[in-house]
Symmetry: C2
Subunit: 316 residues, 2 copies
């Protein structure tokens, strides 16, 4: 009987926290998702963790993924555009106390990259670049099987490479970042701007009745709406522009694309690959596989759990 310790991975994704009880080999045993009200975040997170821990009885550590820059030396979130409330010195200590287990903070894209590398779309190669395209755009680099996080833990911020020097202002302070045109909220913004001029799409009906989301755009594209399809294809071209730059810079074996925007599947993967082919050096393009992630929404929880497991193991 396998009695290796279990792990908990959590992903504070914005409105919700996802949590999973995970085996050492990355297999999910149980999962939960709860909408978070910022004032009771600690209690809610602790509740989820304790619930999962009680199902197992042998949880060794908790990995907690956050959409922000995490300084791994100090365990402090330095910047988080989407969750500014996590940017405070005490967070790690508060989580550890509330949960009552060893806690590792990790950038959510780093965690997702590690999950995909260990048991998902990154298996079988030495080096990958992972992109998480959702409410923001993050990324992570894995070299020789290890997260390569740069001199202070922040490497991989592909959402904030400049693809248009005269482009829109980004939440990060820069202008023309990839994230300003290819994240989920920017898909909605671009679609709205267009609909104000041309309301022939079925999206305009959604727009009149409720706030539509990037998922709605992808859904309408799947249903054959030309306008929605064009928005998804255009988004793929922007992402492909960023991927081409990554490939020219890193000549990396495999690019793994995850995050909610990739739920559009082939509709977005095909234009991404076409744009990379058009923009990247041909030998670099040919040396790279560009694939969608396999773990979907579970990438960060699985990866955060496995990273916490590695950290716990290296400590003992």
């Amino acid at each position: 009987m396998d009695n290796s310790p279990h792990l908990i991975g959590m992903h504070y994704a914005g409105p919700t926290v996802r949590a999973a009880l995970v085996q050492a080999d990355g297999e999910i045993l149980e999962k939960r998702e709860t909408e978070i009200s910022p004032n009771s975040m600690l209690d809610q997170v602790a509740g989820l963790a304790k619930d999962l821990a009680s199902k197992s009885g042998r949880v060794a550590a908790v990995g907690f993924g956050i959409p922000g820059l995490v300084n791994r030396q100090t365990d402090v979130v330095i910047v988080s555009q989407n969750l500014p409330s996590t940017v405070r010195e005490g967070l790690h200590a508060e989580l550890t106390r509330a949960i009552g287990l060893r806690v590792e903070l990790e950038n959510d894209a780093n965690a997702a990259a590690y999950g995909e590398y260990r048991i998902g779309a990154g298996r079988g190669v030495r080096d990958i670049f992972y992109m998480m395209i959702g409410n923001g755009i993050g990324g992570a680099i894995i070299l020789d099987g290890k997260l390569w996080t740069g001199s202070s833990g922040f490497a991989g911020e592909v959402g904030h490479i400049t693809i248009d020097t005269e482009g829109l202002e980004c939440v990060c302070g820069n202008t023309g970042c990839l994230e300003t045109v290819a994240s989920a909220p920017s898909i909605v913004r671009r679609a709205r701007e267009r609909l104000n001029r041309d309301s022939t799409s079925s999206l305009s009906r959604l727009g009149l009745t409720k706030d539509f989301t990037a998922d709605d755009v992808a859904h309408q594209a799947n249903e054959g709406d030309d306008f929605a399809l064009m928005m998804i294809e255009r988004t793929g071209k922007y992402i492909g522009t960023g991927v081409a730059s990554v490939i020219n810079l890193l000549n990396i074996e495999r690019i793994v694309l995850g995050g909610g925007v990739m739920d559009a599947g082939q509709l977005i993967l095909n234009p991404i690959i076409q744009e990379v082919k058009r923009r990247a050096f041909q030998p670099c393009f040919e040396a790279t596989e560009i694939v969608a992630g396999k773990l979907g929404n579970d990438a960060t929880t699985i990866g955060a759990a496995m990273l916490a497991g590695d950290a716990a193991l290296s400590q003992t």
Copy 2:
């Protein structure tokens, strides 16, 4: 008495080949530079190498830097926009036969990066990103003291990251590459375009009498010509845009900037740093030093020699 073997480094830079006889510690003992006529390239290169080898009597290997993608497994130049004549399977064998010594082909920016890392502006840190800004824009990544060249040896091509999705066509086939606005020839092109509209600069006098160069623009900027100064500053902003993307992606300890365009000194370094500060994540900016190379024109010859020395040593 030091009787460690000597090395020869060569840099096929376009119109000329530079060659240097180098000690194992990187110190240059002698150097040469010859204008090359493409038809007699092999003879001329062999002549330079034999001349330097005869001064030493104990040359172990020759490193040959080329502005192109070099496949290190096959020793073949795959792509070279500036020197397409080097893109042929037999080149390595021909050079080895003509010179009569062990020869290592290397991308010129990789070689320069290694030179700066070992004895120049890259000393004292673990990881650097090097940019060579001249007739083209190349780059190289050094991690933990070793060239990190990606899955097939092509990593570092920072000149071909897209900074303007709607920008000019590049020699590589892409549009809006950094190289289309920040290389030496593109400085001349941008200056010419402006001068056609506004001929108040002292550059317009150069333009009327002879083809001016990027060096001339830098020289006039140093003399206080406002127009030339603006062109150099604008170039610095473009370079800074690329550097900011590199910093956000790699969170690297130090950026070393070399190549002929950096001969403009502080006039270009200052706007580069300002633009990086404006565009990069603040924590990434603060974690990075941005410095000019120290080896000037000798970076590639020194680095190519030292890489050839390392390769010879690892063979024996």
